[in-house]
Amino acid sequence: MVDPSSGPRPPLSAASLTLRLAGIAVVVAALAGAFAYVNGTLDPQRLTPKALVNVLETNNGVHAGFRRNHSKGVCVAGYFESSGEARAYSSAQVFNDARTPVVGRFALPSGNPYAPDGSVPIRSLALRFTQANGQQWRTGMNSMPVFPVGTPEAFYQLQQAQSPDPTTGKPNPAAVPAFFAAHPEAMPFLQWIKTAKPSASYATETYNGINAFYLVNPAGQRQAVRWGVVPMSQDAADAAPPQGADFLEQDLGKRLAAGPLRWRLDITLANPGDPVNDASKAWPSDRKVINAGTLVLESTQAQDNGECRDINYDPLILPSGIEGSDDPLLAARSAAYASSYLRRTSEVSQLPATRESRQ
């Protein structure tokens, strides 16, 4: 059998060889170039998770092993008791089962793990509910009612406004006012923070999820919601913050030694037309609120070696029956937390507590 395709080919002319090699180079370069665009190398203007976490590090310094934001905090554990009221709106097991275990974390919204507790008027609570079916619901909530801005780009600019000026080594005092002047959406937040005071306790605070989500029921109906937890003990809520830098953790330990702490999980149902993609806008106060159940916190652990340390409270880790909205902050939080999580899990051995336990 004679096969014309086998056997030596006539040699290529120098021009033809050059053209063919160039053709191969063009194909490979096109694919590599497209890849470099997608991964951001050829698109330096794009806001990336890395840039978001970098600006936090610029403003607060790098504290190895700690979260890049909300760095100072304490682990808590307990459970959630469902009231059953949310079952009509969501098929999530957490609303159906009587009890779901919870691991949480109270924190200060600062990137400095040594910030004095009285230095900021905001406290945060992150929760991880682990359902019996293995699915999880993670949420990070704050004591403010709205977020200052509605987009990750604006959040990034707000952080940049607080970055040290390279020439003076200090933040430009005019930068933050200039930012807010250009961002009228921050008004509701600014109104709130004017009267906000640092609380003396984590236990007396209300924590709001701020971002909107959808509850999805077994029939597939979607209801836009925001959630939050309201403390059942209001004692000393107005107390002036005590002296010292770490009174919140001491107060929490004292209270938990006396018994569990309880919050009511409130889920606010949006009316049609309420903004579900803008965390800087509050919903009118007459919206229907359902009491989904009770969060019971029973114990506390130090964050350097407690269970919450290695949990990434990514707000888009959700069980079936709860979905993210198109609030752009949700995807940005998810992406930036992943970047912060990789950085800090790479540095676990450098945490003060880990170092001490080895000595």
């Binding site: 395709s5 086998s6 030596p8 080919r9 290529l12 060889l17 063919r20 090699l21 053709g23 191969i24 194909v27 490979v28 694919l31 590599a32 497209a34 890849f35 997608v38 991964n39 951001g40 794009r46 806001l47 990336t48 998770p49 890395k50 978001l52 079916n133 293995g134 699915q135 999880q136 990750p152 340390r309 290695d310 949990i311 990434n312 990514d314 888009l316 880790i317 079936s320 979905e323 993210g324 198109d326 752009p328 949700l330 995807a331 940005a332 998810s334 992406a335 930036a336 992943a338 970047s339 999580y341 990789l342 899990t345 790479s346 676990v348 051995s349």
Partner: protein
């Protein structure tokens, strides 16, 4: 019996299907870790089920690879090129198998539920451990870049065979028996 001049039809189908999936997967992965927009979320939701699909297909493909006869490399191919061809194919198979497993392991080590869809959850294959997570996550990223580079070399070599050497190598994967 003479050695075949072309890959078996199933081998060719798997090659081209997986070529598309893997290139898509590399772009999805690179794009999602460099994005804070909604893209991050929907790319992540594509990345996980697609990774498991590639893992299942590579197992099928390895079985096909070892149970069908493959065309030999051209006899006049220089030794170093033949060696590079064999080594790069081993590397491609190893990375196709290892990358999905690393992805699955790192999600497990983070203590995150391994969700392929809103309700489909795979079991964790490692206990939660922060330092293990960090190691696996970095390996997943670096090895994905190595896979992309290997794919580029593979593509360049295939075109070199087809356009410059004009031998049967590219044809053996493009066409069946004539």
């Amino acid at each position: 019996m003479n050695a075949p001049r072309h890959f078996a039809p199933l081998a060719r189908l798997l090659h081209w299907l997986m070529a598309l999936m893997i290139i898509a997967m590399l772009f999805i992965g690179a794009g999602m870790v460099a994005s804070v927009s909604e893209r991050h979320e929907w790319l992540l939701q594509l990345h996980k089920p697609l990774g498991i699909a590639i893992l299942l297909l590579v197992v099928v493909r390895l079985v096909v690879r070892f149970t069908t006869r493959t065309p030999p490399l051209p006899a006049d191919l220089p030794g170093w090129q033949a060696l590079t061809a064999k080594a790069s194919h081993v590397l491609l198979y190893v990375l196709m198998l290892v990358l999905p497993l690393l992805g699955w392991s790192m999600i497990s080590a983070a203590g995150d539920p391994v969700m392929l869809s809103e309700s489909l959850r795979l079991p964790s294959i490692l206990p939660a451990d922060a330092q293990t997570f960090a190691l696996l996550r970095k390996a997943h990223g670096y090895l994905a870049y190595l896979l992309f580079l290997t794919v580029l070399v593979h593509l360049a070599a295939a075109l070199f065979h087809g356009w410059v050497r004009r031998d049967e190598v590219l044809d053996s994967m493009l066409r069946g028996k004539r």
